[in-house]
């Protein structure tokens, strides 16, 4: 199966024009792309790999006599191998990935275009929900398969445990060397708008369907942990207490961040900390698009904040978008607990009318 690329270029979509639903429905019935031709005929060695990997001990897949005793003409292939026979292989996938990485834009198939339309509309995440296979006859060694796939259905907007999204059903029809249909498959994915973390994570799968149900994504992975040493751990301890601490030389009072063991100004090894006011400005920033690490929401704004005390630190900014973030924006610190261990400062823009208010402004995640 070709996996939709969440980062697929959205340039193929049209500007303005009909409603999203109208645009989505216009894809129904279109071929998703070229015909998949099995690179090899159905064969015993690959069957053997499959059943060993799957731990399937049914003898009809490898033993002629057992197969005949079970009423078949000879060995048959495991039915669920259906899709394996038309897989395009690792190298082709890698080459496609590399072409994309080099910025080579391939003419988008209807499937690519559909994904791009959904990406553009903010439905950037994807999860496979379910897959139904219907078999006309068992496959036997020597069968040479082809598969055509069409976009079978695109649902209206649905609320699911993962977030709001659209189900897309793809129908694959498998034919043999005599152009006879040997199997059909319905494969359904959910393209959804990722919700902020927390809350329930019910499976988005439609109930009552048979076979290869894929698990919904696990709980959100944790943010990378800081490596803590005797020199830097005070900062993260402070953050847990919702204090933004700056290391200060106990001798000459020079502030320093990132922390280090001694003062470059007077060479004293004695230090304490001061609690910053939390007021600062965005000195620089980036908007991360790629790679996308599951612990973060993208596009991700990361800022270099210059505190009014004079030191700078890197942190995230909430209440700001890639379009509104700007160098020079006045920000105020808050704190966010990302898991039961890691609490980090998160800045937010200072709203002009509230600028004279409480300086300790904390934001809490619901």
């Amino acid at each position: 199966m070709s996996e939709p690329d969440p980062a697929a270029d959205a340039s193929a979509s049209t500007e303005g024009g009909p409603s999203l639903d109208g645009r989505l429905q216009s894809f129904v019935g279109l071929s998703t792309g070229p015909t998949h031709r099995a690179p090899d005929p159905v064969n015993l060695p690959m069957i053997r790999h499959w059943i060993e990997a799957m731990g399937d001990r049914n003898p009809v897949y490898v033993d002629e006599e057992a197969a005949r005793a079970a009423g078949f003409a000879g060995i048959i292939a495991p039915p669920t191998m259906l899709q394996a026979w038309i897989m395009r292989g690792l190298r082709t996938s890698q080459e496609a990935d590399e072409a994309r990485a080099r910025g080579v834009e391939t003419p988008g198939s209807p499937n690519d275009q559909l994904m791009a339309v959904l990406d553009e509309a903010g439905f950037t995440s994807v999860v496979a929900t379910n897959c139904d296979q219907h078999y006309e006859r068992p496959l036997v060694p020597g069968d040479r398969l082809e598969a055509t796939s069409t976009i079978d259905a695109v649902s209206g907007e649905k609320k699911t445990g993962l977030g709001v999204g659209h189900f897309i059903t793809t129908r694959l029809e498998f034919t043999d060397q005599d152009d006879q249909v040997v199997a059909t498959m319905l494969f359904r994915i959910l393209k959804f708008r990722p919700r902020p973390p927390a809350g329930s994570r019910e499976a988005a799968a439609a109930p009552g369907t048979q076979s290869t149900l894929q698990a919904p994504p696990a709980e959100r992975p944790k943010r990378p942990r800081p490596a803590l040493t005797q020199d830097n751990s005070f900062f993260f301890e402070g953050a847990r207490q919702h204090k933004l601490l700056i290391q200060r030389c106990a001798e000459c009072g020079t502030l320093r961040h990132p922390p280090r063991p001694s003062c470059a100004n007077c060479r004293s090894f004695d230090w304490d900390t001061v609690t910053a006011s939390g007021r600062g400005t965005i000195y620089s920033y980036v908007v991360n698009h790629y790679p996308q690490v599951p612990a973060f929401d993208y596009p991700l704004v990361v800022a270099l904040v210059e505190l009014e005390e004079g030191t700078r630190l890197v942190a995230n900014v909430s209440g700001i978008t890639p379009d509104t973030v700007a160098i020079g924006t006045a920000v105020q610190v808050g704190f966010e607990a990302f898991d039961d261990v890691l609490t980090l400062p998160v800045f937010r823009p200072v709203v002009a009318s509230a600028a004279s208010g409480d300086a300790s402004g904390e934001t809490r995640k619901s």
Binding site: K222, R225, P258, Y285, F338
Partner: protein, 395 residues
């Protein structure tokens, strides 16, 4: 610090270069790539493996000196040294070799770097939920990784955003570096992007990796190996090839230096490490920017090429955006840079392939030869403690 003439200056030379093909999947071990590159460099030099007594590489290289020595039948090694700070090590390997030769510690030193950076362990690939073992290097990432600032592109972009803001340079000015590199790669058969030039429009249309960097602002990833051979100029003159004289070689770390994240000092519009290297290169060589016919400027990401043009004095502070206009850094321009295609176009070999191009330009054997090259300047990775070289013809 002494800015008097370094004793190796003008007395040592690069006499051999060798490289594997540059690919995305070498299909061979990193050690084999290293051995192939060293073998080719020694053949190029006309020096037998048994004469090699010194080796220098990066601390991040996985190929032990003794493995290469055994593989090629080298004898005793009397000098081996490794340089830290990733791509910043490149030109410093040559400096180490030159110092060893000049001091008499070794006679023939091989510098090498080989990796399967694309098909094997890719840089910046690993992010784990467990905290890394705490030490000063891993603790440094505590200020970035938990906030999602995880990759070299992101670290460079933070400085670049400020640079664009302060200088008024634009993404298109960054794109001009990529266009020049890819133009040069397009006529270099060894380059991954051979016959694949890009336009400024394609640069602008390529997807964001991390704003303000597009995909085409970022260098590629490569499998391959590159080696170079250093010996005394005296010995070099007895070898079959044309000696390429080491006219200057320097390492530098700036005040407030951090590893890719020097965000806390100064205005993010300079590279303290390159300022240090530049000052040493000019003072120890007695040369000035006007004496340089071509340069290989480390181009892991386009913004730092603009910074380097300024730090090296090819133009004034904040003026690189004007310097790179109108093809000035392309073949035929005032200062053609990265004539092999750079790391955006030829290969990402941690800058070692760039030193080889500097050697070819001085020899007069580049596929994109600049006319009348007397002095070529080469730099190593920036944003980190770095190094640089001036290579010249033997007079």
């Amino acid at each position: 610090m002494s800015d008097a003439r370094h004793s190796f200056t003008g007395n040592t030379a690069i006499v051999g270069i060798g490289a594997t093909e540059f690919s995305k999947e070498s299909g061979r071990s990193e050690l084999r790539l290293a051995v192939e590159a060293v073998d080719l460099a020694l053949r190029d030099a006309g020096i037998e493996p048994g004469e090699v007594d010194g080796m220098v590489t990066f601390s991040s290289d996985t190929n032990p000196e003794i493995e290469i020595a055994r593989s090629l039948g080298m004898g005793e090694l009397t000098f081996f040294s490794r340089i830290h700070y990733g791509g910043g090590a490149g030109c410093a390997t040559i400096q180490q070799a030159a110092m060893a030769v000049q001091s008499g510690v070794a006679d023939v030193v091989v510098c090498y770097r080989a990796f399967n950076e694309r098909s094997g362990n890719r840089f910046g690939a690993g992010v784990q939920n467990r905290p890394p073992a705490p030490n000063a290097e891993t603790a440094n990432f505590a200020w970035y990784a938990p906030f999602g600032l995880l990759t070299p592109a992101q670290w460079v972009a933070m400085a670049a955003q400020r640079y664009l803001h302060v200088t008024g340079a634009t993404s298109e000015d960054l794109g001009r570096v990529a266009v020049a590199d890819r133009k040069h790669a397009a006529t270099n058969p060894k380059a991954w992007f051979y016959e694949k030039p890009i336009t400024l429009e394609e640069h602008q249309a390529s997807r964001w990796i991390v704003e303000p960097l597009h995909l085409l602002d970022c260098c590629q990833e490569t499998d391959g190996g590159q080696a170079l051979v250093v010996t005394s100029l005296e010995r070099a003159r007895d070898l079959p090839g044309t000696p390429v004289v080491i006219e200057a070689a320097a390492q530098g770390a700036g005040p407030g230096q951090e590893m890719m994240t020097s965000y806390y000092y100064d205005d993010l519009c300079g590279l303290g490490e390159m300022a240090s290297v530049a000052r040493q290169l000019w003072q120890t060589s007695g040369l000035s920017p006007a004496d340089i016919q071509t340069a290989v400027l480390y181009d892991h990401f386009t913004p730092y090429v603009l910074y380097q043009l300024e730090e090296l004095g090819f133009c004034g502070k904040g003026e690189a955006k004007d310097f790179v206009k109108d093809g000035n850094i392309e073949l035929g321009g005032g200062l053609p840079i990265n004539t092999h295609g750079g790391q955006l176009g030829e290969a990402y070999l941690h800058g070692m392939n760039g030193i080889a191009e500097g050697v070819r330009q001085v020899r007069g054997s580049s596929v994109n030869q600049v006319p009348d090259v007397h002095h070529a300047l080469v730099t190593a990775g920036t944003g980190v403690p770095t190094s640089g070289l001036i290579l010249g013809v033997d007079r």
